[in-house]
Symmetry: C2
Subunit: 452 residues, 2 copies
């Protein structure tokens, strides 16, 4: 069994151009990893091996002719199984949609195909991207969860079966599994990537990316947005044609969030060492102790998880009520409970929750006057043992509610297990967050630097 | 053949309560109208007669017991065929979706059923709610178009086959057919009614209502919003439990829009008489001639239709590109042209268009300092002869781009054909627009007052 490692497509581009490597060979390495690891990791709900090989051959030919369709031409990507694909079913982790084939690609998948990317498979999601887990195991330790809800994309990228994966996040569904599986995870500013044909309807929902490096992560998002845009009416991800260069920030705000108290001692120590290492390079770190803007945010962050649950419940009333009409026995108790919570709410309850969310977003935005980005853990600890739960989303939910960009950087390791450092930016300033995060990655020698 | 007339459910409520009338008898009157007129009007793509009769019997029983589920319990409603229904196909006016059955109700349809409404049938839409017409004919003159894209809902309501209908509007798809078919049409503030399960994805798209009276119109929208909310993250339609009382405005702004020059002389004369009649009751009418805020808006309104087409094209790139992948021969030339327009655009072109839209919305909002609502025609003339075109949307498109509420009031008649007067309100102030519109209806004795 190979040790889990990440597989960067971006770093292979030079070799594709020179002919020293090819997209077909890259795909074959992914397929070898799948053969070796998939039987135990269970990241996929469907695979398209033969059509992917043909697509990789066509990509290889384009690179050979010096005419790739984009920098991700030939990149093997997995698609979270709530996002529609023309050639594979979209099961949403629910018996209600077992084998369901809408027959059309989502906006993002169509854009990826136009860019030459290879849609290698569909990846396991929790039930309707919420809490009931699928069968996926953590590639770093099979006794542990990969996190959720983007479980399969994170596990597949985390052990090099995929170069990249699409995920979605409304609570902690990208940042948490990226942390547990040791890859980069990117939850964009709200509305940055077109959700057309993806079953993540909620007002905090976001489509995002899991990948091996910041360059790969940015490139996947970028190639989607120039072809499919953001959500209708939104600006969509703004930024350069390739990942922004590293740019060290003058000031970062350290956020404890309600997660700090719950964090494992080893995780806290590791995070504090990161802050020390950043300080040592001249970056100012401000926190609730010394900065009123940060203190004001920290004071309201305990509201974020219950407020998110309330908003999500109301916004899930439909379609959950139609699923119950169809066959309630196929829904988890968690989904039934969410519907009951929704049915006990009035539209005025919902309006109050949304209004409070807007206030909290304003409180967060005030930090922009004091720091260029925020930094915290991605999760309170490494992946917990067991696959019955996808772990605690406490560190990930603030960025979801705030609607701001967040990245999980695979910089820490406790024993044999990865743990992410999370950076949070300001709305629509995703490119700036990538530049700052690249500088942080350069400073904190990645413990998990085994990128192939 | 009966003369086309409107059928109000709201006005029958007293008789339901007293037992002098029943929802079952109401439905049977609709069914008799359908038997008489549907063969020539062709408003429906599907009908559910037996289940509707059973539902009407159950509703009758609830009214008899004094426990109706809502004021629309038993109301026969038609659903535009881009909105999903569990028990009928959703064909979207396209051969690509002929007989397509998603198997779940949309958010709005589920809410209507919870309120006791009877989902009597699916109504004809143009292809993907855009321009290629269906087979529906105008019930007032079978040689003429009913307008589009909510063709079947307007025609069905316009001749009393239905008490109400759901429609959608992104250009002129509710206001225009309401005008041509002589019923009320309501295009709400953007995001007011949950679009979940409706195939109107665009950033200007809105779900709305066609009905026989303002009371019916309001009630349908209200019963949806309290159960399904608005679009995720939106406040949703705000207002009282039953339609607001009439409230005469002190000042109305008359908008010419680019439609005025194109309007038929008879339509202009009729509109000018309406303004005179309103003035005669003491309402001040301001216009571009005397009011700089109105003049500034009129100056930019010529941009509204091309800007809308550009925004809609980009936002239709997906899913149109997936439809072409499937079977381009099943798309109209208009859809192919729209996709080509989209593919010639960059995301920056789209961003500029959206930014300009935002500026125009600000220019409109400034009128709120000078007038309580705006008033104009709903269309440049009565329904044109022929069913190959759904008519000119020039008067309807401003409210679509502005995202503000609009109502078409069936107040005019040129010869044997209806024509609407349109009122436009300010964002999220839909209830106020209903109150003002009710006052206008009271002042201008409706030429089309034959409400059953």
């Amino acid at each position: 069994m190979t040790k889990p490692h990440l597989r960067s497509f971006a770093r292979a581009l030079g070799d594709f151009a020179s002919g020293a490597d090819t997209p077909r060979a890259f795909l074959d390495r992914c397929l070898a990893e799948i053969e070796a690891r998939e039987p135990e990791v269970k990241a996929f709900t469907a695979l398209q091996i033969e059509t992917s090989q043909a697509a990789a051959d066509a990509s290889t030919q384009r690179w050979h002719e010096g005419e790739p369709l984009s920098p991700i031409d030939g990149m093997p990507i997995g698609i979270k199984d709530v996002i529609e694909t023309a050639d594979m079913p979209t099961g949403m982790g629910s018996g209600l949609f077992d084998g369901w084939s809408p027959g059309f690609d989502s906006a993002s998948v169509h854009a990826l195909r136009e860019a030459g990317a290879i849609i290698l498979g569909k990846t396991v999601t929790t039930e309707f991207a919420a809490t009931r887990p699928g069968p996926t195991r953590n590639p770093h330790d099979l006794t542990r969860t990969p996190g959720g809800s983007s479980s399969g994309s994170a596990a597949g990228v985390g052990c090099g079966m995929l170069a990249g994966g699409l995920g979605t996040q409304v609570v902690g569904s990208i940042i948490r599994p990226a942390s547990y599986c040791g890859c980069f995870g990117y939850k964009p500013s709200l509305g940055s990537l077109n959700r057309g044909g993806s079953h993540d309807y909620m007002s905090q929902s976001c489509q995002g990316v899991l990948a091996a490096t910041l360059e790969d992560t940015w490139q996947i998002a970028r190639e989607i947005v120039v072809r499919a845009g953001g959500d209708p009416g939104c600006t969509g991800l703004v930024g350069p044609a390739i990942a922004p260069d590293a740019k060290a920030p003058a000031t970062l705000a350290f956020l404890e969030t309600p997660g700090w108290e719950a964090a494992a001692p080893g995780a806290r120590d590791a995070m504090l060492r990161v802050l020390e290492d950043l300080r040592a390079t001249g970056i100012e770190i401000v926190s609730r102790k010394d900065t009123p803007e940060v203190a004001r945010l920290e004071d309201v962050l305990p509201e974020v998880l219950p407020l998110t649950r309330k908003i999500n419940a109301w916004e899930s009333r439909w379609p959950l009520n139609t699923y119950v009409d169809r066959d309630a026995s196929k829904l988890s108790q968690g989904m039934i409970d969410r519907l009951h919570e929704a049915e006990a709410m009035t539209i005025d309850d919902y309006r109050h929750a949304v209004a409070r969310r807007t206030q909290i977003r304003t409180i967060y935005q005030a930090i922009a006057d004091r720091a260029e980005a925020c930094i915290t853990l991605s999760a309170p600890d490494v992946a917990p043992v067991g696959i019955e739960s996808t772990g605690n989303p406490v560190f990930a939910v603030p960025a979801s509610l705030l609607g701001v960009p967040a990245l999980s950087l695979p910089l820490l390791r406790l024993g044999h297990l990865p743990l992410g450092v999370q950076t949070l930016g300001f709305f629509s300033e995703d490119a700036n967050l990538f530049a700052i995060s690249a500088a942080i990655v350069e400073i904190i020698a990645p413990a998990n630097a085994n990128v192939a």
